[in-house]
């Protein structure tokens, strides 16, 4: 937490500029993943839990790409990454606790 901020914030924050090429590459990846997830769910038959896991994994990869490149998370100070991790961990804990209750009834 110490590293961001404190003394001279009025100075403009250094800006990272993402190249169009990078953005396009990421976009292409996102489209491919979208097609993949549709294909996986419509053409193959997996066991239920595997299908859900796959769909969520692909979605999470996409989300990561969006956050990392489109939202510039990659270039943000470490503190931002920590915040995101904490928020996701928190949500995961909610999921785990609810799962424990509902699946051991």
């Amino acid at each position: 937490m110490e590293n961001i901020n404190t003394h001279t914030p009025q100075v403009a924050v250094s800006q990272h500029i993402s190249s169009y090429k990078l953005l396009f590459t990421v976009f292409a990846g996102l489209i491919l993943l979208t097609i993949l997830t549709v294909l996986v769910s419509t053409t193959f038959t997996f066991s239920v839990s595997l299908a859900v896991a796959l769909a969520l994994m692909i979605a999470s990869t996409k989300a990561l790409l969006v956050a990392y490149y489109f939202m510039h998370l990659k270039y943000e100070p470490r503190f931002y990454k920590w915040m995101v991790i904490v928020v996701l961990a928190l949500f995961t804990f909610f999921v785990i606790m609810l799962t424990i209750d509902y699946f051991t009834r």
């Binding site: 937490m1 961001i4 901020n5 914030p9 928190l90 606790m97 609810l98």
Partner: protein, 536 residues
Amino acid sequence: MTTTIAQPSYLEGKKGLFSWIFTLDHKRIALLYLYAIIAFFLVGMTLGLLMRLELLNPGKDLVEPTTYNQIFTLHGVIMIFLFIIPSIPAVFGNFFLPLMLGTDDVAFPKLNLLSWWLYVLGAVFALATLVFGDGPADTGWTFYAPYSVKTGTNVTMAVMAAFILGFSSILTGLNFIVTIHRLRTPGMGFNQMPLFAWGLYATSWIQLLATPVIGITLLMIVAERVFGIGLFDPSIGGDPVLYQHMFWIYSHPAVYIMALPAMGIVSEIIPTFAQRTIFGYKAIAYSSMAIAFIGYFVWGHHMFTSGMSGPAAIIFSVLTFLVAIPTAIKVFNWVATLYKGSIDVKPPLLYALAFIFNFLIGGLTGLVNGALAADIHVHDTYFVVGHFHYVMFGGTGFAFFGALHYWFPKIYGKLYNIRMANISFAIFFIGFQLLYFPMLVVGLMGMPRRYYDYLPQFHVPNVVSTVGSWILATGILMMIANLMVAYWKGKKARKNPWHGITLEWQTSSPPPLHNFDKMPEVNEKGPYHYKNAMDQ
């Protein structure tokens, strides 16, 4: 050296209603909150008093059952959403966070004003239930489905009120986090921050991350009422218990929204009146974060009798006990701070000590609630009612009034009558014990809460409790009167009447519009390093 042209104080600047209700100055916004919150507190307390009157004897004393149910719901909603959650952060956090950080405002002053307006809007919604629809909600402040979906009273509006107030709370939290990260004065790292700021920091994260969950849950209740069929309805495969999960995912962390700022206040008052550095600064600071974090994972302890699975119950119970540890650490450090201090017993310190005592009873009864077997017996009885009044009112409420007495000279530049403050404190304290201790007893005897009427064996404790409520009311009214007298004709207060050394004491009383005439000096050794006790 200090040949500054003194600016006018924030109270003197612009005059007129609009200069207040559209102000961007954090100090004026804080006062707007203060007046609104005290007003709602009095309304809530009047409702509490009515309940006690009704419960004086078994059978009907005063009101009809439905009215009683509406009264305790409104009492709960007002006390939780309009009083205790905003109380310390919105009033003293707004006023003193920027001062303590040595800066001139919060990060987003306009957002701050918006929060206040949302608060007012939410309050209007909450009170409008008195007039519109079929009267105020009669569900309890927990709005449990399916009753909250079935009842004819105006639940929709009450729930909307809570939703809007939630947003107000989120924005305050957001503002404080950014303020703390961005606006500390040069030389003040996180570990040079006053503990009140730490308390607010931990609180803000809870406000930010927990409140949206209840927001969405309450929207589901609204949708359910509007479409007449919905998500928690078992006849379509839904589960009413899921509502409870969603509700408590927010509402348990919310109890730490109430407690952490209060603990911050106590951590300010004790070193000032002991004139020595606080014992275990880091332990107190980090335990706030620990409470905030663990506090997210214990919500299930409100649902031990709901039919939750055994393994889930175990985990929630263990975690509940673990969340008590950081609190214990704080208590021990406060007491240790008194050791070898040079203690000046003034009203703020009395409130802080009373906080510790009451919070001990509240917290320790919380442990009874957290134990599975014991909670099966005491759940939804007056024991729980006693528990939460001890922590919320005995804890946070006392800390709120302690803070008011501590910072009153800074806020208004006036000093109150100390003797009167001590006397009203004593009456307040005694009334409090008489009012709430019998609740613990009658709860263990098995009297359920939210009862309009009760069996004859519960009579005696209820009488004691009601009598206590009158004594308490006397004390509070005396206290408020004393402060009002001080506001009109109190002696002028010095800049630093208690010899505190956090930054807010370095500016004049009341502070100038831009907070400081002179750059505040940060104490590199930490915010409570007293050089020599009496040299100010």
